[in-house]
Symmetry: C2
Subunit: 302 residues, 2 copies
């Protein structure tokens, strides 16, 4: 009887479930909205997990009883959902940094992983099994260099221009069309609630990226600064566990890295002078698939 492997990953704005067959081929994928319990309730996260998993079951034409092994992020939520869907296995839990390494195709958990999606964090893993992480503090106290951070800076910059306190920028029109408002200052009304609407703010990062692509100086500066902050975060972590002569991968995982050289060049510019043998690698595999592959290896060996 063929058993399948289920992997499920929860991000700030997207949840992804992937089913692998016993040969390691992708049999089906399902997606849903965000499920990071730093930002939404466990109940909402569980709903997103259920939706993504059900979608993957349907796409792969399998049922709960066919699952022989599973991996997850957000273990508590996964356990609850697995019980409810009667999936007959205990999911194995993986950190977002371990998932990032897998997404970049790196077998050995050694090097630095920078996560910059809706939020941001950085983890480092040494030869000797040392583990050092920073960030992941959420939108109020941290998330430097994340899509949330880039989006918020972009909106603020537009408002200052709209008010005449700073020179004009394409971001003013971008705020108007993004929020569907007549005047950029209307964004204040859209975000005046004391509850941080993280997805709405992070979504504007894409507009900042577009404006930068059109040569807007203000937008370019915001993205370059995000890159510098991410680079400094990674260099700080690297200094804790590596020496300047060590060679190691710096895995870049998350939507922010889709912005390309504008964010990547400043990261390299900060890290390389301190660690000339470090090498940046973009995590390209889908996160749900990476979680499934990690689970596969844990259940059935490399």
């Amino acid at each position: 009887m063929i058993k399948y492997i289920l992997g499920i990953d929860g991000g700030g704005t997207k949840t992804e479930a992937v089913i692998l067959d016993i040969e390691g081929k992708v049999a089906g994928t399902g997606t849903a909205g965000g499920s990071n319990t730093n930002f939404i309730s466990r109940r909402e996260a569980a709903e997103a997990f259920k939706q993504a998993i059900s979608g993957a079951f349907e796409a792969a034409s399998v049922t709960a009883k066919d699952i022989g092994c599973a991996g997850c992020t957000f273990w508590t939520v996964a356990n609850e959902v697995f019980d409810e869907l009667r999936i007959p296995v205990q999911p194995k839990s993986f950190s977002e940094h371990a998932v990032a390494f897998e997404r970049a195709g790196i077998e050995e958990l050694r090097g630095i992983a920078i996560i910059a999606g809706t939020g941001s964090s950085c983890g480092g893993f040494s030869d000797g099994g040392q583990r050092f992480t920073v960030g992941g503090w959420g939108p109020l106290l941290g998330d430097e260099g994340s899509a949330y951070d880039i989006g918020l800076r972009g909106i603020k910059r537009a408002l200052w221009s709209a008010e005449g306190r700073l020179p004009d920028t394409l971001l003013v029109d971008a705020v108007r069309s993004y929020f569907g408002i007549e005047h950029a200052k209307g964004a204040i009304g859209k975000l005046c609630d004391t509850k941080i609407n993280q997805s709405l703010v992070a979504g504007f990062a894409m507009e900042v990226s577009k404006a930068a692509g059109m040569g807007d100086e203000a937008a370019i500066q915001i993205i370059e600064e995000a890159g510098e902050m991410l680079g400094e975060m990674a260099a700080f972590v690297a200094r804790q566990i590596f020496t300047e002569n060590d060679g190691f991968p710096v895995v870049l995982a998350g939507g922010v890295f889709n912005m390309g050289r504008l964010v990547l060049d400043p990261i390299r510019a900060v890290i390389l002078p301190q660690f000339p043998k470090a090498k940046a690698l973009i995590a390209k595999m889908k996160p749900g698939e990476a979680v499934a592959r990690l689970a596969y290896k844990k259940c059935f060996g490399g």
Copy 2:
């Protein structure tokens, strides 16, 4: 039959009601928690208004029917509460900038008012009746130089030190005792909710001020930067309505200015080179009393 004058002011963390007798002497004062509807619900604001007004009634030994004239900030809330308490007058509404001028004892509405309490904003009033305001955008998009801003920067700075990313500062111990936690990074747990706890963050501004008083470089820098931002906000407003040869008062109103020269010197350093004849004045009168005095003048003439 003697009639009394009631004034009520709502701030981010404090509400104050003051009753004046017909000669303009303070007959009684009542206070309550915050009532700024930018941060709390109208229902909570109305409760704070009621509590402050009832306290003032009691202190002055008057009842609702003795009130012959009244002033307020947050007109909608005041109207609702006045109906409920059967206060037989319509309150006159005043802006926080007008209240700031009155608090500084300035009769004529001309000059600049910088508000830096829990939040921040700036208003300017020209000879010709021109009015120009900036800020007041709330904790997510604005509030530069406010107690909220100072508190948040202080907490972030402590966390970076606790993590080893920046040199040590007294703010690390201050965060531990302020939040009652073992390790400074526990502050992340206290503030990880996506709802901005503005009073809790703004309250830490006082700890930043204390650390600065003990010579802590990190704390001093945070407060000086707040002063610079407030100064730049005021200078921007002044450039819209005054010329460099104009003399005008710059009224400073709000708890941030209790920090003294550390915040005041940078404000002067920004404004004076551009407007040598401007003069900073601290608003010392209690805000509730200022609202009552404005109402008095409006009802009975100067």
